[in-house]
């Protein structure tokens, strides 16, 4: 077998669907039927998962560290809110796509700033863009509603058929469908030659350029795509909660998002989904112990994760499942987190 077909073989085998993945999505779907009283928090988790998946695309696959990913979330949120409020596009799915595209345009425009410079410059520029947008939203309060946020958003039925109900059932399945479709797309993309070239860039940009990968163009493309995903997540936020306020741009949101991805592990798409579940549960637990000061414990989790080491932590968590698989199925463990330092 020649080297190139060998690589192709492994890439294809890696890209194939596993039973575990199907089981994962079935469990998620089942949650919708098992916990009918928890639609609101579950919708929240789905939104966060989508948002985290967006960060995973640039951080886990392309190695771009961003402290201002909330910028795109916020643009998506306000776009969806304004579209619904002024009745420009009443149909939620179309409005969702429009909002995603709005964030995408911003992502494309700012990607040129982000591909320049090293980590620190990227951190500063992404953070700066998010802060800039927050200041803008506050400044143009006649459009955005300022600190009060957009109020009185009324969502039309999805596809003209399914209305949003007050228990959030429609919102939950709507979010789930959006998340799943976008997940399929992301999965296809990261296993394509394009996705593989991103990994090459992440591991060594210089070498990637040397073997003929157009590094900057690839980074611009994935950053734009990630912005689209984040915009959709923001739009889902507005559509399912019927609010959009200034805190969609807040720094905390970007910081929390990093924590979500770090908990779940970056670079295999499921990290954001798993991380979102664990993060929200942690947040629930902490805010029942100390309602006002849960941020302290979130901070502590971050510090501990970093000190223990992200890789070691995931190895520890996966030790038991891998052992079981080894014993029961008698083959080499398949559950691994393909993580390398971003």
């Amino acid at each position: 077998m020649s080297a190139s077909s060998d690589v192709g073989f492994h890439a294809q085998r890696h890209a194939r669907w596993h039973y575990g993945e199907a089981a994962f999505w079935l469990i998620v779907l089942a949650c919708g039927f098992v916990f009918p009283s928890r639609y609101l928090i579950m919708t929240d988790i789905l939104r966060l998962a989508l948002f985290a998946m967006s960060l995973d695309l640039i951080l886990g696959y392309a190695g771009i560290v961003s402290l201002g990913h909330a910028a795109f979330f916020g643009v998506g949120a306000y776009a969806a809110g304004l579209l619904a409020l002024h009745g420009v596009i009443n149909e939620p799915v179309l409005a969702l796509i429009a909002a995603g595209l709005a964030a995408m345009v911003l992502g494309f425009a700012t990607s040129f700033l982000v591909i320049r410079g090293v980590d620190l410059t990227r951190l500063m520029v992404t953070l700066g863009i998010a802060l800039l947008l927050e200041a803008l939203a506050e400044r143009f309060s006649n459009i955005t509603g300022g600190t009060d946020g957009l109020q009185g958003i009324e969502m039309q039925p999805i596809l003209g058929q399914i209305p949003f109900d007050m228990f959030g059932k429609a919102g939950f399945f709507y979010s789930l469908a959006v998340l799943f479709v976008l997940f399929l797309l992301a999965r296809r993309i990261v296993h394509s030659p394009f996705g593989l070239s991103l990994r090459a860039i992440k591991n060594n940009p210089l070498r990637a350029a040397a073997i003929g990968i157009p590094v900057n163009r690839r980074l611009i493309a994935i950053y734009t795509l990630a912005a689209f995903y984040a915009g959709i997540a923001g739009a889902l936020f507005t559509q399912t909660t019927a609010i959009a306020s200034l805190d969609v741009f807040a720094f905390d949101r970007s910081a929390d998002l990093m924590l979500v991805l770090v908990i779940g592990g970056a670079g295999y798409l499921y990290g954001g989904l798993i991380g979102a579940v664990i993060f929200r549960m942690l947040q629930e637990v902490f805010s029942t112990i100390t309602p006002q000061y849960w941020q302290f414990w979130i901070g502590l989790v971050l510090v501990v994760i970093v000190l223990v080491g992200r890789q070691r932590l995931h190895y520890g968590v996966l030790f038991l499942p891998n052992l079981l698989i080894k014993q029961i199925a008698g083959r080499k463990a398949v559950v691994t987190v393909p993580e390398s330092d971003a």
């Binding site: 560290v65 620190l120 520029v125 941020q295 510090v303 330092d341």
Partner: protein, 289 residues
Amino acid sequence: MTSILTNLFDGVAYGMLLFVLACGLAVTLGLMNFVNLAHGAFAMAGGYVCMLLVNQHGWPFFAALPLAFGSSAVIGIVLERTLYRHLYARSHLDQVLFTIGLTFMSVAAVDYIQGSSRVFINLPAALQGQFDVFGVGIGRYRLMIIVICGLLTIGLQMVLAKTRFGSRLRAAVDDPRAASGLGINVPQVFAFTFAFGCGLAGLGGALSAEILGLDPYFPLKFMIYFLIVVTVGGSSSITGPFLASLLLGIGDVAGKYYVPKMGPFVIYTMMIVILIWRPNGLFGRTAAR
């Protein structure tokens, strides 16, 4: 005309304050290439120590300032020796996550202990009010800040340029590997500088309570300002961050006065433009590592 001068004066005071707050961060970034987003937490610690001493124990303001410096420096060196030093070799992402975690913890802890409202330090009467010089209003407190921070800056520059420690530090910033090859104990130089930088931040925090406002969210609110000073000023010298602070201070005060509607807009735009134009800072050289 006089309003321009008054604004200029206020801007200079503001800028000098930012410099004292942020110059520790310049060393952290320049010397160890460590992204310390928790720098503001040390400033906040100093501010709160000063506030407690002055307001609750009746210390004179000027006696409490050295203690604000000392307490932040001690916290700094303890954290450096126990936690920070494990992270120097890690990726920037790890450093960012770790220091954001620390910042969140400090915010919640101070909120828990002192409450979330803004605190004020009782100033001696001699520092309140303002006087006129040729029609230009000069705030006494701001004048004091300029004097203190100006002396500190000159002192720092002297230490860096004239003393043996200063040349060690400069060597270590320029090229840590070559410096350690020449027998300079780089970790020790760094630990000391880190503590000193934290102390300066603490002092800055105490001084800034009156001007910037001191509340538990201080580290988050001013994080971007410290980062701007360092990234725009570069970390290869002390003059770069100093000029950047002055520019930022004057720009921010003038921006808020002349185009109040644009708010913090001016600053962020300025920062992004400068970073695009010169990714290594306005006065910086290319990073050693």
